[in-house]
Amino acid sequence: MKRSFTKLVLLVGFSLMTFVPAFAQEDIVIDFVHIFAGEGDTRRDVLRGIADAFEAENPGITINLSAPSPDYIENFNRSLLDASQGNAPHVVQVEEGLTQLAIDSGFFLPIQDLASEEQLAQLEGILPVVRAYYEVSDVTWSVPWNSSNPVVYYNKTLTDLLGVEVPTDRPMTFAEVIEICERITSFSEAIKAVNPAFTACISFPVASWFAEQWVAMQNGLIANNDNGRSARATEMLYTSPEMLNVGAFYQELTEKGLFTYTGTPNNYNGEGALFGGGATVFHINSTAGITLFVDGFAGAGVNLGIAPLFVPNEEATNGVTVGGASVWVTAGKSEAETQAATDWVFFLTNAENDIRWHQGSGYFPNRAESIEYLSVGGLFVDADGAITSPDAEGAVEVSWFETLPFFRVALDQLQASQSNFATQGAVVGPSNEVRTILAEAFQSIIDGGISASEALEAAKTRSDAVLADYNATIGE
């Protein structure tokens, strides 16, 4: 009896202690929600390093990094639900496709209204094609952070063996891809003898993202009202000649038996595993996976080739749109907290950390000056040419991009992009839904035997209904 009572007192005491520190905290704590949640994800350490540097420069501010989920959508939903309960984080990493939804939520403040003169100048240094994505109706809402692009990965050991020449200094056209794939497929039996896993020439995620790139390359739009940039989009342009070219590519690949996929749309990891397992020779995936692919193939003793994303035809030189995410500052915080959050966003994306982030994560450097620097330096090697730390004896600084040329491929295609509405990319509120519908259109071409024009026509009908309903609920 007496011991129970002591125990009770102890328990009450301990329990009290667990929430006392919450009251003792007087510093400004900035909650930053990001997606790098994996236990062994080294990008988390890079981010922590940047946060530590910020804290050292700004005493009294603590950066609380939290990654509730490795999924952009999950984090976005959670942040907004937290906000509705008065627990909003200060800064959220928002995927590019959620831009319009983030604006419509009223939960974020445009970064251009928060930034100081000096910080506004920092925005100017970002590659125009990257910065443009996050400008809607001439308002800059967020600062681009982790940017990526699709590139072509291929099994170089196999193409060399078959004597197939794959250009890497320029993108291949759809026609070239089909021609090369037909040649490779004619060797099917021989390939299967050495690699029984071989299924088809090419595989890539059945997703809207690549189609968006291919339409942008042809200077075509995905949504009306200048890709939703000058006014709210009311129509998806899924039956444009540019999109029909993309649909026809899927159809031809399928009819000639050159394509395979996992059966699930948007399955970036699954399709990567399919390619990595030797099922296909060519593959398209995000640059975010470069390090993973390079390491995986090196481990298997297979040469990995990286080439720019295919273009629909030779005239399609307009360039690509940026993928990835940007960082957004939330509304409804005290002035001091909003200020600290803004400072953190600009610290995270300044030139020094841009380089650090690129080198640690594989995402693009977003700033022209970072790219210039990495073209001449950024990597330290010893006398034998092995990569070493800057402090090591006899370390010599060499060009990062020249030593690791695969990082350069995707960057070149991005830098070569024109700045216009097409490469700015489409912003629509229900982007998740209309993107899913487009992926289903491709699925019905591949597995349903439906013609490209019929599938895209149906996709447009469905998507326009979704947009109409969204706009009726949210529209101004």
Binding site: F19, N77, G263, G277, A279, N432, L438, G448, A458, Y470
Partner: protein, 467 residues
């Protein structure tokens, strides 16, 4: 049961210290449990507090609503409820008094507003399409029933206490004991249910706060939506396949596992473990088997043996087979467990008597074992149907994501897009129509509830429960 028994049962184990001991342990446990979640509890109470503080506003909103619309809009619903209350009370209660019937009318009239008020009487306007008018009448009657059931119980003289073995001396104590459960039900069942029903009347895009009242349009939109109708059909097809195969295979396995063999316990344990896995894990295991290309186990095997592979997840029917297989495998252990227990309850003497009378193995199974298992089969039927409606989500999400699409660009829906999967997709994707999902949730609930009632009504009466 007599007085002595009650005395025996309540004899304290620790003598006079029992009461303080139990009290202390309870207080320590509750203290530890609640204090460690203090933040959450605080926010819960502040939320409850704000709800209570908002009550006068809510009341004034209700009054404003009634005064802002014409009586011709709200009177019909009250009238329908009152009429329903009078008629049913008069018929259901034996020897009803005038007072009782009048009360029935009053309660029915007020109760009708439970469900009609959230719709803001939007179905009681001249412009409303006929189908929504009917739904509005149904809502009024349904609300009346909810209010009338307690009244009927009270008019019949309340719940009889005859034959019960104990009673509370204090009048408040029983209610105090009930309080936690009532709070729990209110907070986590009734409140969310009401919220869902309310949500289903709005057009809203998750997770944005903007909303627009659309009356019952979400329901009529679903009724007209070919994708939703197909989802309905697919759900029933998959449910039927899952139930038939899971019960059939489980019975077969249980019969085998009940044989007198060495290490029978080991087999039984191994047979049951798939149930310990969540449907998501079951889905992941089946994904590893059915996956496209050589990374899939089945395709690797097929490739090695025949040189060809099958695209399991890219064909509408094969994808459904994969889903059913994963779901059946997942719930099989649960069914086997109950059937093994059931088989042990089949009286041996009955079987022996039958075999002496010349019944063979097959006859004994059909005439004795199967009927004796009926209560187990019925229980499993109900749980398996529920599983096939709700629990299958994880398998669909991991295996097929509702695909492959049917028709051009999925304009006819997804081959494995069952109701619960479609509901989740429509509710929790960014920018998705969560009001529509709310309507789907209400429909799904009504569907499963009525199926369960139907099962109890039609099947349970034919089952003999052994003593």
């Amino acid at each position: 049961m007599n007085e002595d028994n009650i005395q025996d049962a309540s004899r304290p184990i620790f003598g006079e210290y029992t009461a303080p001991l139990v009290l202390t342990v309870t207080v320590v446990f509750l203290g530890w449990f609640f204090l460690s979640q203090w933040d959450g509890i605080l926010s819960l109470f502040s939320w409850l507090g704000s709800g209570i503080a908002d009550a006068p506003n809510a009341l004034s909103r209700v009054i404003t609503h009634y005064t802002s619309i014409t009586p011709s809009q709200w009177l019909p619903s009250v009238g329908i409820g009152a009429l329903f209350g009078v008629v049913t009370t008069a018929r259901l209660i034996s020897k009803p008094s005038i007072r009782g019937i009048a009360l029935g009318g009053l309660v029915g009239g007020l109760g009708s507003q439970f469900l009609v008020l959230p719709t803001q009487h939007c179905t009681y306007t001249p412009e409303t399409p006929p189908i929504q008018v009917i739904m509005g009448v149904f809502l009024a009657i349904f609300g009346s029933v909810i209010a009338l059931i307690p009244l009927w119980t009270w008019l019949r003289g309340g719940v009889s206490h005859a034959g019960t073995s104990g009673f509370f001396r204090s009048r408040t104590l029983p209610y105090l004991f009930l309080l936690p459960m009532v709070l729990n039900l209110l907070l986590f069942l009734y409140y969310p249910s009401i919220q869902t029903v309310t949500l289903s009347l709005f057009s809203r895009r998750f997770p944005l706060p903007q909303e627009r009242f659309v009356c019952l349009n979400n329901y009529t939109a679903l009724a007209e939506d070919v994708i939703y109708r197909n989802s309905f059909i697919i759900t029933f097809v998959i449910m039927f396949a899952v139930v038939v195969f899971s019960l059939g295979i489980a019975l077969g396995i249980a019969l085998l596992a009940s044989q007198k063999v060495r290490y029978a316990n080991v087999y039984r344990t191994l047979l049951i473990w798939p149930f310990a896995l969540s449907p998501v894990v079951a889905g992941a295991i089946f994904l590893a088997m059915f996956r496209e290309g050589n990374t899939g186990l089945i395709n690797a095997l097929l490739n090695a043996l025949t040189g060809t592979t099958v695209s399991w997840l890219r064909d509408a029917n094969l994808a459904r087979v994969a889903i059913v297989a994963a779901a059946v495998w997942n719930i099989l252990g649960f069914n086997v467990l109950f059937y093994i227990a059931g088989l042990q309850n089949v009286p041996k003497d009955l079987l022996e008597a039958a075999s002496i009378d010349g019944a063979n193995r097959v006859q004994r199974f059909w005439r004795i074992t199967l009927p004796m298992l009926a209560p187990f089969t019925f229980f499993l039927l109900v749980t398996n149907v529920t599983y096939a409606f709700y629990g299958i989500y994880g398998a669909v999400d991991t295996l097929t994501s509702g695909g492959p699409p049917l028709g051009a660009a999925g304009s006819l829906g997804g081959a494995t897009s069952v109701l619960i999967y479609k509901l989740y997709e429509d509710a929790f994707n960014p920018g998705s129509p969560i009001g529509l999902a709310g309507a789907q949730a209400v429909i799904l609930f009504l569907l499963v509830a009525s199926l369960t009632v139907l099962q109890f009504r039609t099947l349970e009466s034919r089952i003999t429960y052994s003593e």
